[in-house]
């Protein structure tokens, strides 16, 4: 018969074992891969190291298609995989290989950066380096497409209009891209005035719209500061939220965004604290030290001669659709198309995901 002290000891040991098993289980669950590789669900991760930065590159999707879409994220300060949950994962990855890039100093990129190697020029060269590694790993007979969203539109436009970089790509997809900050603020003013008048006529959020108009009126359009852009950006996202509540902007996330999709594609692939901190520091640095918000690439647009698809949300207060019209009018090719999504804000790939993917697939099938 067990004595009292033996029983206590056994209970205690059992508790310890359970705790140990629980912790072991946590380790196994959080470190295991959530997806099984098949021909259509290929996954590869590698880093590209160049001039002080090491950038993670996630390749997901159908690698046998020989068609790669390189995704330039927004921000600056975002990360590549933030585009993955649902939207690209469910539809585009079935047909193509998607290359999710964390730009230097952002996402899960590592390295040691300073004023010499954290510049737009370095980021342009990074894209060339990534292409070299893709060629090295997967061969040179692939069709490459470049997709840039928001800040990724600025970087993509700058890349394509530098040297003969665009010759590497079969097509350019710009989504709500900020390639001209001067026009961006002016068009924000026009869009806000128009939408504010409509909303105030409906007696919705009058105080907010008045505040937005007042802020825009204070901006000296001949001397736009980084602070102006930051403040306006915050108000633009808030405005989008108001239209979302009023059901003018569509909630497309219900179709695909669920816990399974998030955990499979994002939550256990990106360290949110590290990504957010490093992105914030890089954003502050680029905007304050590099005058990023002074970028104006209007005169460069005519250098783009590859097929281009321009996708914009009608209610994008962050980068209004006037920039899409400007790009459409200036890009020097007949193979171009501008699509303005009627129920979208700054991210049509989430607001109207099915329509968005349809446009992307039809463009790639035409030019790959």
């Amino acid at each position: 018969m067990a004595t009292f002290s033996d029983t206590t000891l056994k209970k205690s040991l059992m508790k310890s074992k359970l705790k140990f098993l629980f912790l072991l289980g946590m380790m196994v669950i959080s470190s295991c891969s959530w997806e099984v590789d098949t021909a259509e669900k290929f996954y590869d991760l590698f880093y590209v190291e160049r001039n002080g930065a090491q950038m993670p590159i996630h390749v997901h999707g159908n690698i046998q298609s020989k068609t790669f879409i390189l995704i330039l994220h927004g921000g600056p300060g975002g990360n590549g995989l933030q585009y993955r949950p649902g939207v690209f994962q469910e539809s585009l990855e079935e047909s193509y290989a998607l290359v999710y890039i964390d730009q230097r100093g952002q996402g899960m990129s590592q390295g040691q950066l300073d004023e010499k190697n954290l510049t737009l020029d370095e980021m342009i060269e990074d894209i060339n380096a990534i292409i070299s590694v893709l060629d090295h790993k997967y061969g040179t007979d692939n069709s490459l497409f470049l997709l840039g969203h928001s800040w990724g539109g600025t970087l993509g436009t700058a890349f394509l209009t530098t040297k003969d970089n665009q010759d590497n790509f079969k097509g350019w997809i710009e989504v709500d891209g900020a390639h001209d900050f001067d026009l961006l603020v002016k068009s924000q003013f026009r869009l806000v005035q128009k939408v504010a008048a409509e909303e105030m006529a409906m007696d919705r959020d009058t105080d907010f719209w008045n505040e937005f108009i007042d802020k825009l009126s204070e901006v000296d359009t001949f001397n736009i500061t980084n602070e102006n852009i930051s403040e306006l950006n915050a108000l633009a996202f808030e405005a989008e939220g108001k239209l979302f509540d009023a059901e003018i902007i569509r909630d497309g996330t219900a179709d695909y965004l669920n816990l399974e999709s998030l955990t499979k594609s994002y939550l256990f692939s990106v360290n949110p604290l590290t990504s957010w901190m490093t992105g914030t520091f890089t954003n502050n640095y680029l905007t304050s030290e590099q005058d990023l918000f002074m970028t104006n690439l209007e005169s460069e647009l005519k250098k783009i001669h590859i097929p281009s698809l321009l996708l914009w949300g009608k209610y994008d207060f962050v980068v209004p659709a006037e920039l899409g019209v400007q790009a459409f009018e200036n890009i020097d090719t007949e193979d171009k198309k501008l699509v303005i999504f009627e129920e979208s804000g700054h991210s049509p790939m989430t607001n109207e995901a099915k329509l968005f993917n349809g446009e992307v697939i039809s463009f790639i099938e035409q030019y790959k």
Binding site: S5, L9, M27, A53, V133, H136, M277, T282
Partner: protein, 202 residues
């Protein structure tokens, strides 16, 4: 990568054996699960040495003797975590811990320290002048100041395990343009506590 991990585990095991032997000479071994930014799994081995122990005796209103301890420890830690899927990290750091031991061996502690962390990256390609080459042992070194706060319980009697739960922040310096903090949670045991002797008084 596999070879490096193997060497690392051999290193940890040898350190553990060394620390167990050292229990006799006032060093105590601890082992913990480490959750980097909560869910990235890892582990940590701790060698702990008591540097200072002040006993405070007080009699309460019911004439009962209450004894508390104020202790200062040195913690030497070595560990790793896996930031799925982008990289592994290994680290070594030293902390000075202030500990208030109270009734039934329960304690709170606060510590500051510093150390080094090395990230281990997966397959990495260097591109220079258009030439692609594979990088051997890719990763970065970071100096890591840190602070920690925790609670725990000392060994009291047979069948009661000493445990500790700590939250600590490591600051990875020279990380991209500035630094980045890591928020780690740590839960584990410290074996062969010297406090076993002093705890009998409490």
């Amino acid at each position: 990568m596999k070879k490096r991990l193997l060497f690392f585990f051999i290193f940890i095991i040898s350190l553990s054996l060394h620390a167990q032997k050292s229990i006799l000479s006032d060093w105590h071994l601890g082992i913990s699960y480490l959750g980097n930014n909560l869910w990235n799994p890892g582990a940590q081995v701790t060698g702990q040495k008591l540097l200072f122990d002040r006993t405070i005796s007080r009699t309460n209103r019911r004439d009962q003797l209450k004894i508390k301890h104020r202790q200062i420890f040195l913690d030497a830690n070595i560990g790793f975590y896996y930031d799925n899927p982008t990289h592994w990290s290994i680290f070594n750091n030293y902390q000075v811990q202030y500990r208030r031991v109270r009734k039934k061996g329960r304690y709170q502690n606060l510590g500051i320290g510093a150390g080094a962390l090395r990230t281990l990256l997966p397959e990495t390609y260097n591109v220079a002048n258009g030439t692609v080459s594979k990088v051997k042992y890719p990763g970065n070194w970071h100096f890591t100041p840190m602070v920690s706060i925790g609670i725990g319980r000392l060994w009291k009697r047979r069948g009661t395990n000493p445990w500790r739960l700590q939250v600590h922040t490591m600051i990875l310096t020279n990380y991209n343009v500035s630094f980045t903090p890591l928020l780690n949670i740590e839960y584990g045991y410290v074996f062969g506590y010297h406090s076993k002797e002093i705890i009998n008084e409490i």
